[in-house]
């Protein structure tokens, strides 16, 4: 039951449900997170048929319909190129904490050197006039890593000598 807003008091029943999951993430993702946590290394997966390198690692090549296994995982450098970006400027509930995330913050669509697919991540620039497609970016690693994507808190824009 309810009443029009702005008129009388709204009748409300509130409750909150927790619905926790324990996802199986597959061998490739396990290897990816283990290497990230233990060795600060980034791994993608390379299709044994067409050679396309996927980051994050992908278990099946969409073009070839071929499975990629642990032996098809390849190390990628932490550097890449900005292919697209946005600066988010609206309040957002952090799905990890349930609290509000501070804004603005930058999102990058980037391609790691040697990868053929894009990946999305945070970028440490919130002034969109300072971001440009083609800029070089580098992953920043946390010192105390836990084995999740938060181990790379963001990518930073870097300047490289030609």
């Amino acid at each position: 039951m309810s009443r029009k807003k702005g008129q009388e008091k709204i009748f409300e029943i509130k409750w909150k449900t927790d619905l926790p999951y324990r996802y199986s993430i597959g061998k490739l993702a396990v290897k990816f997170f283990e290497e990230l946590k233990k060795n600060k290394k980034i791994y993608g997966s390379k299709c044994p048929k067409c050679g396309k390198v996927n980051f994050p690692p992908r278990a099946v090549c969409a073009d070839c319909f071929v499975e990629m296994t642990l032996s098809d995982m390849v190390e990628l450098p932490p550097k890449g190129t900005l292919e697209g970006f946005t600066v988010v400027n609206y309040p957002f509930v952090d799905p990890q904490t349930g609290g509000m995330r501070p804004f603005p913050y930058g999102y990058a669509l980037l391609k790691l050197d040697g990868a053929d697919t894009y990946t999305m991540h945070f970028v440490n620039e919130t002034d969109y006039t300072k971001l440009k497609v083609g800029q070089r970016v580098e992953a920043v690693f946390k010192e105390e890593r836990e084995g999740n994507m938060g181990d790379i808190p963001y990518f930073k824009v870097i300047k490289e000598e030609e």
Partner: protein, 380 residues
């Protein structure tokens, strides 16, 4: 191919917050309206197909929450968990199976009942991407940035889409936002996800839409002006945004090609009289012009400038005001179908395109045109 007819449609008014109605009542409202419009009862409906999303409805097997409202107790009923245009396709297949003579298709969404940002965030996989907080707004910002950067499309050209659709919405009594705005209003609105601003995005709306499909032999029992399915195709692009090219809507392009082929269309702008496209954000409509073959790749901005998609243009797009004016998310595709039906029946009121005989509607699932279906309809 005149085998599946749509003989009547009904829509609620789309609004920000229909707090007085649970979604089952929204659905009951359109179903009763459809019954009354056609002079039928629940006994005249052979089968029911619904469309909604469990996360939006807040329960699984959420179609059971509207079971009474659609009259499907002890009746054949199935649900598409996704965009309403796909529910139309499911309904059409029920007719084509020749098992049912009449099928009612219903879609609803109450965006006001849950944070749409959180629901959209759950689209992303839970270990690589979801924690980034990506949603439909930030993804749209990334796509718009890449599209505009590649093709040199301007923010002004994008703003013109919003101005057009919001102006068209003034002629649609069902539309949520009914206020004319200027290009400057769009450009000066708050930056939400660069390069897209608040007015480059739709509102969130509550609402429902219903329609009755019939077989070829029964159509004339219900109306003198049935609308016929002429062509259909669907195509799903890669799930992960990083696996798409992000500057062209390849899935929509392939769906359009298939639908045109089935309908025998070789020159979409020349042959189609009207289109209702799923404009999830301003530049998304420009990208859709290209994917639907209305103009060449990268020419969406110029095509907008040409006026071709205005009400008096060669291919009016979104006379209803589109998603940018009314956005009950899961229902958007079925609303596109309903609006094309009204155009082809000559019942679109002040938003009528004169003598519309052939129209296009498209539906979309997921983020940035991941799942696409394109439908071509013909009137009598």
């Amino acid at each position: 191919m005149d085998k599946v007819a749509i003989v009547g449609v009904a829509q609620t008014k789309y609004e920000e917050d229909k707090i007085d109605q649970p979604y089952s009542e929204l659905v009951f409202e359109v179903v009763k309206k459809l019954h009354n419009n056609l002079g039928i009862t629940n006994d005249d409906i052979g089968c029911v197909i619904t469309s909604s999303n469990d996360f939006n409805d807040g329960r699984t097997i959420a179609n059971m929450a509207i079971q009474d409202a659609v009259g499907s107790v002890r009746k054949a009923e199935s649900r598409v968990s996704g965009d309403g245009a796909f529910a139309y396709v499911y309904g059409a297949m029920r007719i084509l199976s020749e098992e049912y003579d009449t099928v009612m298709v219903v879609s609803h969404c109450k965006c006001s009942e849950v944070s749409q940002y959180l629901v959209n965030n759950t689209i992303f996989d839970p270990y690589y991407q979801r924690h980034l907080g990506l949603d439909q707004i930030s993804s749209a910002g990334l796509m718009a940035n890449m599209y505009m950067n590649k093709y040199g499309v301007s923010e002004e050209q994008a703003a013109k889409v919003v101005v057009k659709n919001r102006k068209n919405a003034l002629n649609n009594p069902h539309a949520h936002l009914q206020k004319e705005i200027s290009v400057e209003d769009v450009l000066n609105s708050k930056m939400l996800a660069y390069p897209l601003k608040e007015l480059d995005f739709p509102p969130f709306s509550d609402g429902a839409v219903a329609m009755l499909l019939t077989s070829e032999k029964s159509a004339k029992k219900f109306t003198d002006t049935p609308v016929w399915l002429k062509g259909y195709a669907s195509c799903t692009d890669a799930y992960y945004l990083g696996h798409r090219n992000m500057t062209d809507l390849i899935g929509l392009e392939l769906a359009a090609k298939g639908a045109y082929e089935m309908a025998g269309i070789s020159d979409p702008v020349g042959e189609l009289d009207v289109a209702e496209v799923y404009d999830a954000f301003s530049t998304h409509e420009l990208m859709s012009y290209e994917a639907l073959g209305f103009c060449g790749k990268g020419e969406g901005g110029k095509f907008m400038d040409s006026g071709a998609t205005q009400m008096n243009g060669s291919i009016p797009v979104n006379p209803s005001g589109g998603v940018l004016s009314s956005n009950p998310t899961m229902a958007n595709g079925l609303i596109r179908v309903a609006e094309i039906v009204l155009q082809l029946m000559g019942k679109a009121g002040k938003r009528q395109i004169p003598n519309a005989k052939l129209g296009l509607a498209n539906g979309m699932n997921g983020i940035c045109s991941q799942g696409n279906c394109v439908l071509i309809f013909g009137g009598e």
